[in-house]
Symmetry: C2
Subunit: 210 residues, 2 copies
Amino acid sequence: MNFNFNMEEFIKKFENSCHKVQKKTFSRNEVITSYINKRNQFCILIKGNADLVRYDLNGNRTIVEHFSKNDVFGEVFYMITTNNELLVEAREKCEVLFYHYDDIRNKCRNNCKFHQELSEDLPELILNKVTNLNMRIELLTKRSIRDKLIGYFNMLSTRNLNKTFSLPFSLTDLADYLSVDRSAMMRELKLLKEDGFIKKNGKRITLVYK
Amino acid sequence: MNFNFNMEEFIKKFENSCHKVQKKTFSRNEVITSYINKRNQFCILIKGNADLVRYDLNGNRTIVEHFSKNDVFGEVFYMITTNNELLVEAREKCEVLFYHYDDIRNKCRNNCKFHQELSEDLPELILNKVTNLNMRIELLTKRSIRDKLIGYFNMLSTRNLNKTFSLPFSLTDLADYLSVDRSAMMRELKLLKEDGFIKKNGKRITLVYK
DNA sequence: TTTTTTCTGTTGCAAAAGCAACATTTTTTC
DNA sequence: GAAAAAATGTTGCTTTTGCAACAGAAAAAA
């Protein structure tokens, strides 16, 4: 989370807040929400990890977005065009705040401080999402599996300020995130190791050249 | 452009407005802006068509985003991570408004009505961009060239409320937009015609089944 | 702690996509 | 209106990716 908005402080204020905000808890593999006819839905993940997942007609599974602490999601960000299933699934124990976007925009009828503050920081929150999506597009437009892997590893490395970092999900999920075949990705990963570009120990990766 | 914000009306008001906003005109193939160290840049395309284009080290050209009338762009939406060249290029004669994002957010020092109004509608403007980017990601995550083409055509058809529509750019550019090899795409396009999924006459496409 | 499920790693083969090259048509520029 | 540049359409060949299948390791559930 960049910009001025301090999510931590914000969450603390939640204690004595508007009753229109709902806080819910989810356990591993539970569906947090499905994207269908909830155009007004706006959520903040305040604890845990979750994925926006698409299941298409060919049986392919795609991880459209990966969410971690303080990320925002919800159908207000998405225009449903196909009839593919779009679900936000909890990867681990999650806590989520549910809002109606209108309450943030047009001020909640209760006129509560909580919504008002969120409203003020809304542009930065959404702008942050835009930069994340642009990074994702940059990855997906790379032409080969190798370039996608290297691009993703570079991003994690930069974000971590370290040449060594952990993958935030399993290799199976990574393939679904990069939108490539898992076995082909494993093959490429092996070649990257053999060619000396990376070292790998489970989910722990080290970039050898940068 | 969805939501309440009426860009047309807004542009009209521009006449007697804040002098901090710059309006510039570009001709075909001119570079409108390059994304590098202008973190504060926020632009609105008020006339024409333009593309955000990336040139990578392998000589590949990718159309990252396609902008038409009323779309917003600028480095404020982008986190530069690689040293690839990122340019916004005019496809035809364009008119562009240049802002500083801070002037919109923190109110312009002139405290002008123009910036104030834009500021109020900012969340919808950015949200609109988010839904566009999500659509783009949905396209890019399709596994085959055929699925990408069909997905893109469906989107254009839906947007046009018609099974017949025109491609907004050349086939060469379409390949760069879908991030695939042009000749492979041409082959697939031919197969789509032969299999009776589409009819094609220049840039005019008709979806036969939907 | 044991059982069940999921994930990792690998392979041979098939299919899809990329590359290079060229002729032809269309568009732009002068 | 002629010349130059760019886009379209096509093909043969090569490389990359996907698919299917399976064994062993690791993780989750009972």
